[in-house]
């Protein structure tokens, strides 16, 4: 097991989840189960009150447009530059990627990865699979992929954390984390613990 994972003392105290659209409630519930104060973030000023932020699954076009419109994108870039950990799951991974070919709307552009949207196809091609994720320990991580993106390029300094069928589906760059799948939809909290430990690393 990663040294920080599972040790509550190293966990971030106040974590936000961007609550504009998507499955933010599932992330908030997982954070609360971990004993973290969870904040539903819908306004830019709330980004000053949290130590880490999760961008949930949802529709990346919708989340991107609303975040831009409400002034969250700019503020988030400032906070990330100050070292606040940010994790994007599925649509959230698209939101934080520097490069998303063909995406119709402006995004936060934080992490040096290229992400291809709907890379496995439409909903009928959505799938569940066990992943080998060495940073979480030896046990496989059961992952839920829903109209999922894949990470098609990782920049220098980006660490690949997991693949499926040869495609990169989880990566980390410093305090930035991106996953194509939805740890908030399963009861395995190891990815949330891993993310919360990044703030203290």
């Amino acid at each position: 097991m990663h040294p920080a994972v599972g040790d509550r003392r190293t966990l971030t105290a106040r974590a936000g989840v961007l609550g504009l659209q998507g499955d933010f409630a599932e992330h908030l519930a997982t954070l609360e189960r971990l004993g973290v104060e969870a904040v539903d973030v819908r306004r830019p000023d709330q980004l000053d009150e949290i130590d880490a932020l999760i961008i949930p699954g949802g529709e990346s076009t919708t989340i991107g447009k609303l975040a831009q419109q409400y002034g969250i994108v700019e503020k988030l870039r400032d906070r990330a530059a100050e070292g606040m950990p940010v994790w994007g799951t599925c649509a959230g991974a698209i939101f934080i990627a520097k490069d998303v070919p063909g995406h119709p709307h402006p995004l936060a552009s934080l992490m040096d990865i290229t992400v291809e949207r709907n890379a496995f196809g439409r909903q009928v091609d959505s799938f569940e699979a066990d992943l080998d994720v060495p940073v979480l320990g030896a046990d496989p991580f059961h992952a839920v992929f829903i109209r999922a993106p894949v990470i098609t390029r990782v920049g220098p300094g980006v660490e690949v954390l997991a693949r499926t069928g040869g495609s990169v589906v989880a990566a980390r760059q410093g305090r930035l984390l991106a996953t194509s799948f939805h740890p908030e939809l399963t009861h395995d909290e190891r990815f949330h613990r891993f993310f919360l430990s990044l703030g203290k690393s």
Partner: protein
């Protein structure tokens, strides 16, 4: 490219987690009825989380009369090609072959809908038999649970489609949320068993709803939303998102109204914002009073 990304051999598809999971991703959003690729693009640009591809919006189905069926696959394909957000399409109640066709086309969600003319007066589609997820309408909790038991991975309150009149939507969402509250207060197993019998569903499903205080799937509202305030009203009454049909593309300025309804759905508790986005939207769809619709022409009683 997509062809290079293939799941591991252990990748299972069409599971309950995947079906209900997609609905989780739509929460807090607006799903808009569209009849052309141009409409679909306007909806996506306005921030819709999905579109419903159909040949006519419910107001026009109502006006046209006759038998309303699944849309032309060609038309659905063109809408799927026009946008990157999920595309839903409707099949008739009980018409499992229309559902098979929609699954074969590759739509992301099927709405087994009372807006189309029912094909079977006894059976709804056995939705567990499909890999593609289904959303179904309901007027009260029992109807919602029967649909979930048949495999619906998402529920929408029915309202009265194509009227631009919110009254039935309010009645139905209240009936569903009141029903859930009532179950949670019942407590005794014997009473839960009686409810299971009344609703014609397994007692395990009743127990789960009583314990969680919510449906085991996502609950949206549909049928009559015409303004941003309507959308926020339904969210405050317990909907987790909204379907908007005729209310957008039957109004004077669909692009602005669509965006305003998205904003009001996101910030449903922020009256200042709802006020702001409601300003100068132009004329809403004209709408129909319930009393003006003869009982035989009402859509919500279809299904059971």
């Amino acid at each position: 490219m997509a062809s290079q990304s293939t799941p591991d051999k252990n990748g299972s598809k069409g599971t309950w987690t995947l079906k209900t999971g997609l609905a989780q991703m739509l929460k807090g959003g607006v799903i808009m009825d569209v009849v052309t690729p141009e409409h679909a693009k306007i909806a996506e640009e306005a921030g819709a989380v999905a579109v419903m591809a159909l040949e006519r919006v419910p107001a026009d189905i109502r006006a046209a009369g006759g038998v309303a069926r699944m849309s032309d696959p060609d038309m659905i394909h063109r809408i799927m090609d026009a946008v990157t957000i999920p595309v839903m399409a409707k099949c008739r109640i009980g018409h499992f072959v229309e559902a098979q066709v929609l699954e074969a086309i590759g739509v992301d969600y099927i709405d087994e809908s009372e807006v189309l003319t029912p094909a079977d007066l006894k059976f709804h589609v056995d939705k567990h038999a499909f890999k593609v997820p289904f959303v179904c309408g309901a007027r009260e909790l029992g109807e919602a649970l029967r649909r979930i038991h048949e495999g619906a991975a998402m529920i929408r309150s029915k309202g009265e489609a194509g009227t631009g009149n919110i009254v039935e939507a309010v009645t139905h969402i209240r009936a569903i949320t009141d029903g859930i509250r009532e179950l949670s207060d019942l407590g005794l197993m014997a009473k839960l068993e009686a409810k299971a019998e009344e609703y014609r569903v397994p007692v395990e499903l009743i127990q789960q709803v009583a314990k969680d205080g919510k449906l085991p799937v996502v609950l949206f509202c549909a049928g009559g939303i015409a303004t941003p305030a309507d959308a926020a009203l339904m969210m405050q009454l317990g909907a987790e998102g909204n379907f908007v049909g005729s209310g957008i593309f039957k109004s004077a300025d669909p692009a602005r109204r669509a965006k305003a309804i998205v904003d009001a759905t996101t910030h449903f508790n922020d009256a200042k914002l709802v006020a702001e986005v409601s300003r100068g939207l132009g004329e809403a769809m004209r709408g129909l009073s319930l009393e003006s619709i003869p009982a035989a022409e009402r859509l919500a009683p279809r299904g059971w």
